[in-house]
Symmetry: C2
Subunit: 438 residues, 2 copies
Amino acid sequence: MKLPVYQWQSLGERAQNKLLQRPAIQSSAQLKDDVRAIINDVQRRGDKAVKKYTQRFDNATIEALKVEEIEFANAELSLGFNEREAILQAIDNIRCFHEAQRNVDIDIDIETVSGMRCQRLTRPIRAVGLYVPSGSAPLPSAAMMLAIPASIAGCPTRVLCTPPNADGTVDPGILFAAHEAGVRDVYKIGGAQAIAAMAYGTESIPKVDKLFGPGNAFVTEAKSQVASDPLGAAQDMPAGPSEVLVIADGSANPNYVAADLLSQAEHGPDSQVLLLTDSAELIEHVSLAIERQLESLDRAEIITESLSHSALIEVDSIESAIAISNRYAPEHLIVNTKKPRRWLDRITAAGSVFLGPLTPESLGDYCSGTNHVLPTYGYARNYSGLGLEQFCLQMSVQEASPQGLANTGPVAEVLATLEGLDAHALAVRLRLDDNDVD
Amino acid sequence: MKLPVYQWQSLGERAQNKLLQRPAIQSSAQLKDDVRAIINDVQRRGDKAVKKYTQRFDNATIEALKVEEIEFANAELSLGFNEREAILQAIDNIRCFHEAQRNVDIDIDIETVSGMRCQRLTRPIRAVGLYVPSGSAPLPSAAMMLAIPASIAGCPTRVLCTPPNADGTVDPGILFAAHEAGVRDVYKIGGAQAIAAMAYGTESIPKVDKLFGPGNAFVTEAKSQVASDPLGAAQDMPAGPSEVLVIADGSANPNYVAADLLSQAEHGPDSQVLLLTDSAELIEHVSLAIERQLESLDRAEIITESLSHSALIEVDSIESAIAISNRYAPEHLIVNTKKPRRWLDRITAAGSVFLGPLTPESLGDYCSGTNHVLPTYGYARNYSGLGLEQFCLQMSVQEASPQGLANTGPVAEVLATLEGLDAHALAVRLRLDDNDVD
């Protein structure tokens, strides 16, 4: 498996744009219709429909959809000591980073003019729904990344859905992680039926206001459909295949660069990995290291597929590489250069940045502390990675004293009149006429 | 015009739910197709298409789409002294409130464990597009509410579109407000063609990453369509008709309450206004005051229509009223009771809250300082009103020292293995093997 190599400067604008294009994703009309049918059915028949689809898609017959206390206890017992400790350590780090976000007091309480008190206050979203994929690849890390901020934000209702195995059990790593991260309402439901159940509520699943988390094409399409219904639930961010862009100079260890590219490529066949470097020699060595490392990897088939829409690109300077990266807006950006921190100020659009030779993306995926739910597919130019703020609302408040009314009322009256809204003007005028200060 | 009166306690659950239902809004299939055609045309033919639709929808022949310096100067001259002063005063207050948001340093820089440095950094969105409706009702206030946070957030490219009059001019209030609020790139384009032009760029209009602002059905549908295209532009929030919920007790002045209800009702025929009060007497007096005030108002026809899906509701206590309001999640919530501030902690979902007798919604619409772009139609339960954060991105950063790698690498390795991602484990293992500390 040889990755294609390009020299950025030698390409025309068209070819450059093409190189930065992501593999196309699009929900087929069939998928949209299938998902719509599932959502309608769950809205109409609740748990009955949920159980039917669980039978159909997960081959599991589930009587009680909700995970019971004893199942959490069994999950803990079934994990090895090292696994439990790793999950607990990861939770500690992630909690530390997200508690730091809570500790920033963003609320505002000021007088904009004398007597006009204005505030901006934070409220946790009442009910949030967390989706954690499982099945062939259970993701305990996703459970941590969703449950921790939801808990720290203080959302009163926190619901987590994850698909069951055919025997009706749920992945023990996911159960243990969710429990330790502060989520006890876990349901054995996957796919579009889980999204519909949380968006509209059923007999056993509470309705939520916002949905979070990754998922397959069904989950993604279902999140998008319920988010476009005012009576459904909002969603965290649009989905897309995972991706990494590595910027490296001649000082980088090619084995590290190769491993970073491969670890992103193993996520799925539609993943994209790009290397930008000013060193032709590094490209050569990385190329060889990829071939060598690939031999020992379990998911070589997936990797080979995803490498087919990836590239090693030679640029004239690290400065150019940063500019290209800002244009591409990668989900993950690894800067493996001498003094990587000097470039940080120039990075304007990236989900998460990894600085230096000792910070592989794997650390951020699991346990550096940052959140691994990140905007991908170019959405890093207009969406942020998951943080406490997405689990909260900002509400503004104002209160005028007589002085405040005197200072703002006449302004409002003029502007309302200018916009031809005389009832707006009247609401102010009535008060000004009664007001002592005016 | 008599508003219907209800007693909340005497209604069954079904009737209660029905009372809190918003008037249905839905884009027709025809509208969706029309908007899609406009977007495709603008994508393909750029300025040519924009000019064609400006001719068709605004009856205006525009040669130069961009507003020139002289036009800003003329706009200023054509406004009266009072109008200019009112706009400047409003800008001062709004700027004050939004600068307070910038002054909160939300960036984070911590070690989650020894040697594992994690940061969260703020970046302004590179390019934002602001839409300001005009035509029959030009909205200089919308120009202020969008341009001020965009400028304070420091978005390098700030584009504003507003539809021209038939003579090719733009409303002077909008031009003056935009200019004073820090936006100079103003284009004479309205409707879906403006949204398409900003989302994809044309010869004369720069492509933006996110779109902000209110609009008619065409604008709303266009924003939603370009937001669902990864190559388009994100949008601020879903749209819906404006609404107010007033909570008042027996101490409230019925003239004020009536005027507040009417001022919301004049926004459009699909607006909704609700009064919740524990005083039957207040309902009677408000009802009479509405009839009386309505006689003198210009937009009586619109108001009458919007009052037809509005209601005066008697509740058993202000406490109940707050609970009902949280369920309804109003865009605007006026709390006109004795000691209104005592209820603030219990309010969990509202776009903007107005406390006390002297704080009509008109103040927030124009000049208290808070932003009037707010989630409506129930979206206040899962979206925030406009603030600086929507003009910014949060980017996470991590950097491991040898100690940091030693503290987190083994955890990542265990979790990657647990999730069956061995390339992730390898990227860590290679470094741990070379690392001094391990």
